[in-house]
């Protein structure tokens, strides 16, 4: 099953590599990983999307909790939560396709953020499956480049991951 694990991490040299190293050393998979500093500059927040059976996910969270740099973590999938990922997408947009692609971007609430005679660059935000739906919907449109941020998430209401 897919899990989204949010980690507050001391903003120390090597912290990221220790988390990534734990996953590779113990054979856990990482579907996506995103990390950036928080409002507290001594802390980074990392979001890892991983897949595994319940015992594997339990081991992942327990092993992460043993890393000295890990301040706190939360398996967002255990809570009501919001998940978002951003995608930048460069597609060939010529002739009649231009209007069709524009319409498609609108349907997905995407924004065209750069244009030239032959291409559109689209910014799209949403859950990972929405981004995938957009890629599907583009059908025969030629995709030049896809950049995805990896998923991040936040629990709803009073559930807060904070030290």
């Amino acid at each position: 099953m897919r899990h989204i694990i949010s980690i507050l991490l001391d903003n120390e040299a090597g912290a990221l590599s220790r988390v990534a190293g734990l996953f590779s050393a113990r054979g856990y998979n990482i579907e996506s990983l995103t990390v950036a500093p928080t409002d507290d500059p001594s802390l980074s927040r990392m979001t890892i999307v991983t897949r595994g059976s319940d015992p594997v996910i339990e081991q992942i969270t327990k092993q992460l909790n043993k890393l000295v740099d890990v301040v706190k973590l939360m398996d967002l999938t255990e809570h009501d939560h919001i998940e978002r990922e951003m995608m930048l997408l460069k597609v060939v947009a010529k002739g009649e396709d231009r209007a069709e692609i524009k319409r498609l971007a609108d349907i997905f609430r995407g924004r065209i953020i750069d244009v030239d005679d032959e291409t559109y660059t689209i910014e799209l935000t949403g859950k990972a499956d929405k981004l995938e739906a957009m890629l599907q919907a583009l059908g025969s449109t030629k995709i030049l480049e896809v950049v995805r941020s990896g998923s991040m998430g936040i629990a709803r209401r009073e559930v807060v991951l904070k030290f």
Binding site: L8, D10, A13, G14, S17, R18, G21, A25, S42, P55, E58, Q59, K62, Q63, N65, K66, V68, D69, V70, V71, K72, F163
Partner: protein
């Protein structure tokens, strides 16, 4: 010798405990020091009395600071120099295992530090507290492929409990203190501090206090340390025990690391529960006690393994159901209606085998809480039928070997040593058959006498570990039981033994090859001895020992000489080396094949078996 004229001499104070400054502050707080001096001062404050290490360019400033400290303070912190940095690592580990204190090793950058990788991983796998200080190239040279540069924080990050690369010298003293804290708290382990040379040479004001925040770690430690076993949980434990007819304590190294030996012993004796121990748990329970069923697992005693098969309530304490114990977890302790698990590391709970009663926290506290509950509630239950059963198992399936053989059997040699040391000597080992024979045939009345590389299984551990142990315990007889394969790995440390005049007794059980490998090749590879037979090698261990200054170096080849030679060897005043030419075909039995349930245990020709192993074809490619 140091060149006094050019070195600014700074007096470094002998140890005061950090964090509890007497009279409101460190006597040296506010003084100007180099980074190197701060490192040494924190070592002194942490109570370090021995450093194991090998010098080199990037660690020179700190070696110099140690030199000056020792000159000022009557060699309070001697630096013990091995032949190879790996030796220093295992000496520090041996010191830590024998004493329970944090072992300290100090090496230079690049190859010095990479030679330390094996002992660091070994200590991680066996939960041994160590602080390893590595020199590093100057911060400005990091990442330039400088001379003797290696990315130690990356390399060690994968194998240590934690690693610090100190790039900001103002954080150096806090980092050093924090390294000790991390090494010794919770599940202990090795912490590496990688210190660039310019940070060692930096000059600043010594604060004499302070640690890094490590807030998440500290909060978790606090939570687990404070996690007391509640009255209701204790009651539930005794409900399970009250339903049980055949309870068994399964005790691992965590009981020793957690200083919970006296509580464990009291609990076992009060409740009259028999005890099996893991390889790492040997010594947690007095092996001469009637309740002791000795080691379980792949090469455990038959009676221990049968007791595991027969028990209906398995109580795991500081043990982790590893693959050498529970080769097939689904069929481990198959009749256990309940499993209880106590550990300081929550990740071990449910990792291999589900426990239906568990507690994460300090073992000494938890066992004491159970004991208190038993006493106040007046718990008593008659396990006498189980005791009779266990006593029969011990008698019927007792350890045994080919006593009539004309060749010297390794078990006989160990029995002869054990008759004289009576469970009171420190025994270190390499890895392989000799290690298992030692685990099976030595007695241990106390913890921290049995020092072995359990999880990592590092050949070459025995000799340097013996050196470290002797520095930790000057009063104890230290014996390295080694194999001819294992001792070759760190043979250079023979010289270290004589250099420091350590009265260590080195026994090489020579079976002309890698005996355990040969045993597996005979069992699983149709006897093809790929690269494991060394009978044609020209090595003369006696000459090697003599060359390194052993005045007693004897080769024992005749069975009838064993008692006399063992006697004189142990009585020799000083370092002594004994090579015993043992039966090259002697095997380690019992044996539960890798990935096998205990019903498949092979007991060999000299121990009875109550089940006949099925002759199933073994997939030799998938086992380990």
């Amino acid at each position: 010798m140091a060149q006094e004229s050019t070195v600014r001499v700074k007096e470094i104070q002998p140890g005061i405990q950090s964090g509890t400054p007497a009279g409101g502050g460190h006597p040296l707080a506010g003084t100007t020091m180099t980074g190197a001096e701060m490192i040494v001062q924190v070592l002194a404050d942490e109570g370090v009395d021995t450093i194991f290490g090998y010098s080199g360019g990037a660690i020179l400033p700190t070696y110099d600071a140690v030199f000056r400290y020792n000159r000022e303070h009557g060699d309070r912190m001697p630096l013990i120099v091995p032949a190879n940095e790996q030796g220093a690592g295992f000496m520090a580990a041996g010191y830590a295992r024998a004493s329970g204190k944090v072992g300290v090793a100090m090496v230079t950058s690049g190859p010095g530090a990479t030679n330390m990788v094996t002992p660091v991983r070994d200590s991680m796998a066996d939960s041994v507290p160590m602080v390893v200080i590595c020199g590093q190239v100057p911060t400005t040279a990091i990442g330039t492929d400088a001379f003797q540069e290696a990315p130690i924080s990356n390399v060690m990050g994968a194998v240590a409990k934690h690693v610090f690369l100190v790039t900001d010298p103002r954080r150096l003293e806090d980092t050093m203190r924090t390294a000790f804290e991390i090494a010794r708290t919770g599940r202990p382990g090795p912490v590496v501090v990688d210190i660039p040379k310019d940070v060692q040479n930096w000059t600043g004001t010594f604060k004499g206090m302070g640690r890094l925040p490590i807030r998440g770690y500290r909060q978790r430690m606090h939570a687990w340390n404070e996690n007391r076993l509640s009255e209701s949980r204790a009651r539930r434990f005794f409900e399970l025990l009250g339903e049980s007819h055949r309870p068994l304590l399964y005790v691992g190294g965590g009981v020793i690391n957690g200083d919970a030996v006296s509580q464990l012993r009291a609990l076992a004796r009060t409740l009259q529960i028999p005890v099996v121990t893991t390889l790492m748990g040997i010594g947690a329970y007095d092996t001469t006690d009637p309740l002791a069923l000795h080691m379980l697992g792949m090469h455990g005693t038959a009676y221990a393994n049968y007791a595991v098969e027969d028990c209906d309530f398995l109580i795991a304490v500081g043990a982790r159901f590893d693959d050498r114990v529970a080769g097939m977890p689904s069929r481990f302790a198959p009749r256990a209606r309940h499993i209880a698990h106590l550990d300081i590391d929550s990740s071990e709970i449910g990792k291999v085998k589900q426990a239906d009663w568990y507690h994460v926290g300090r073992l000494d506290e938890a066992l004491q809480a159970l004991l208190d509950h038993a006493r106040t509630q007046g718990f008593s239950r008659d396990f006498s039928a189980w005791h009779r059963h266990v006593r029969d198992l011990k008698k019927t399936y007792a350890m045994n070997y080919d006593r009539e053989s004309a060749l010297i059997q390794p078990q006989y040699v160990i029995e002869e040593i054990n008759r004289r040391t009576r469970g009171e000597a420190i025994i270190t080992t390499g890895v392989g058959q000799h290690q298992m024979w030692a685990a099976q045939f030595f007695d241990f009345k106390e913890p921290r006498l049995w020092l072995t590389s359990g999880s990592m299984g590092t050949m070459g551990f025995g000799l340097p570990a013996a050196v470290g142990a002797q520095f930790a315990r000057r009063d104890r007889l230290v014996i390295d039981i080694d194999g001819d394969g294992s001792i070759r790995m760190n043979l250079g440390e023979l010289e270290t033994v004589t250099t420091y005049g350590l009265p260590i007794k080195v026994v090489v059980l020579n079976n002309c090859g890698d005996g355990m490998v040969k045993q597996w090749q005979k069992l699983f590879f149709k006897g093809r001895l790929a690269a494991s037979d060394k009978s044609l090698r020209k090595k003369d261990f006696i000459k090697a020992a003599q060359a390194d200054g052993f005045e007693y170096a004897v080769r024992l080849e005749r069975k009838e000489d064993v008692p006399r030679v063992v006697e004189e060897f142990l009585a020799f005043d000083g370092p002594a080396f004994l090579e015993v030419m043992i039966d090259p075909d002697a095997g380690v039995y019992p044996m539960v094949g890798p990935g096998m349930p205990y019903t498949e245990m092979i007991t060999g020709d000299f121990i009875p078996s109550r089940t006949r192993p099925t002759d199933g074809e073994v997939d030799s490619s998938s086992m380990f």
